[in-house]
């Protein structure tokens, strides 16, 4: 079985919104029709997006950190949005696990958006059908594109490679290895939706220096109950010979 998914590396996302604009550009010009924007240049603009980048502040000033958090449909393995759909417009593809909406069947009842805990579905106010991330299903299988471009538009746009694309069911895929080795996790695990998309945590490399590492603990003079011959901050034998 295949389950295509995105892995989003929060460690490198800089919150530039390139994925948002690239997603909108690709999908609004796609075969499924435009994604409505209303009042784009006037008061109260509103529109349909598949992908949003949000910003959070962790901690309290001055000890704060900024988190940029891209969020789109997570293509859950047990998607609560699918069984509730009365028309069958929402479905999960067997072959690759992508959750899609058939815009020709959807009646715009919004029930699926109530059933998604992540707020990943947005109704198109003009066309009155439900829309959400398709993982660029119209692009990743397009054989007229070179191999390297058969990826979702957001992945290609990301300047820091914070978005990775692959099959989470293949344990040897790049993203499976990343998830396994770099602590990839799922959002709101409490609902058992099993999101296919994973997030890699923010990771820091810290240097731990203990005090006894600053002072030579193995000074042989100690054995003879004598203190070091020189003050600690003066150059030691090592300092003068190691060149």
């Amino acid at each position: 079985m295949t389950q295509l998914a995105l892995v989003i590396d929060l460690n490198v996302c800089v919150g530039c919104h390139a994925c948002v604009t690239s997603c909108k550009e690709w999908n609004t010009s796609g075969p499924a029709g435009f994604m409505t924007d209303e009042n784009p240049y006037s008061k109260d603009p509103t529109g349909t997006f598949f992908n949003r980048v949000q910003t959070y502040e962790i901690g309290e000033f001055p000890a704060t950190e900024t988190l940029h958090f891209p969020k789109s449909c997570l293509h859950c393995e047990d998607p609560p949005c699918v069984p509730v759909c009365p028309t069958g417009a929402s479905y999960k593809r067997k072959e690759d696990g992508i959750v899609l909406v058939d815009y020709d069947k959807c009646i715009g009842c919004r029930y699926c958006s109530w059933a998604c805990p992540y707020g990943a579905r947005e109704i198109d106010e003009k066309q009155q059908v439900m829309k959400k991330c398709t993982l660029c299903v119209d692009r990743i299988y397009d054989t007229s594109l070179p191999d390297t471009e058969r990826k979702p538009a957001c992945v290609l746009a990301c300047p820091t490679s914070a978005r990775l694309f692959g099959d989470v069911h293949d344990s040897e895929s790049d993203i499976s290895i990343k998830i396994r080795e770099e602590g990839g996790y799922q959002l709101m695990p409490e609902w058992g939706t099993k999101p296919a998309n994973h997030y890699l945590p923010r990771r820091k490399t810290r240097l731990h220096i203990h005090e006894d590492e600053l002072v030579r603990a193995d000074n042989p003079l100690k054995k003879e109950q004598r203190g070091p011959s020189k003050p600690v901050d003066a150059p030691t034998l090592d300092d003068s010979t190691s060149w």
Binding site: H17, G47, T55, P83, C85, T87, G108, G119
Partner: protein, 325 residues
Amino acid sequence: MNPAFSVIFLTTLIGVGQGMFLALFTGQSYSAVELLPSEDSTGFYGTGALIALAFLVLGLIASVFHLGRPERAWRAAAMWRTSWLSREVIVLPALMFLVFVYAVMHLFGWDTVLFTTKSGARLQLTLIVGTLGMLATFGLFIATGMIYACLKFLQEWNSPLTVINYILLGTASGFLLATAFANTNAPELMRFYGIWAIIITVAGFITRSASLIRNARLKAKSTIQTALGIRHNKIRQKAMGFMGGSVNTRDFSHHMTATFLKSIKWIFLLLVFVLPVAFLWEGIETANTAILLTAFIIQYIGLLGERWFFFAQANHPQNLYYQTV
């Protein structure tokens, strides 16, 4: 959630229709075993069923306003295996059809007695249609309630109390209407319906209060920490990613103050339970149709408030991602 008026009207109107039909059918079953005097088919059961049907039709019309693409509504019957909404879409027209047949059979007197037991109980053809109608009525109540109760992360709704309240509140308003109707068309049944309307309203008061108490003590399972997967007690949203609104900011919150929400709660408790029972009591004692109808109208207005509150109180976990512009 943001209460949609189409859904508020849909659920309250069909509730009245279902309750009214249950009242008629109960009356007829009681009279079949001679616990109640039997009534005139045309004037009471037939006309009464037409009134019930009218409420169901009004509810159906209201529901159309909820759909973005009502012209495709027929497709909604497809997924009855998994979707409670689909089941509702199937049962509602089925019930309307049965109520219609029930009304027609009474109005035109197509009501052969199939057999009579030794004790004198009569099994009429309309009773069979009525039984099917009763099953459909309960099916519809359950489907409507389950649409909300099955969404597990809407914790305020995810409880059997949701379904029970839909059943009791709908039935109460239907019996109340039946009381007023009986007062003009079958006066000897008025007291029977009136007492039942009081009993069901009181039962509804108990279960609705139980769900209010339950909801007041709920602890949200999802937090900003689980939503983002970051372990820190202090996390604040600084930007939701856009400055204008979106469906996520419009559909999932009631946009009213906490005081408003609270006052609606007390208002609906008064209008759905306290006042109607008082009016009913007075109406039964004086056998006054105007008072009984007033009781019904007050309760219906109260139910609109109750339904508004039902939606407004549900807190969707997606709101964790949409806190600040």
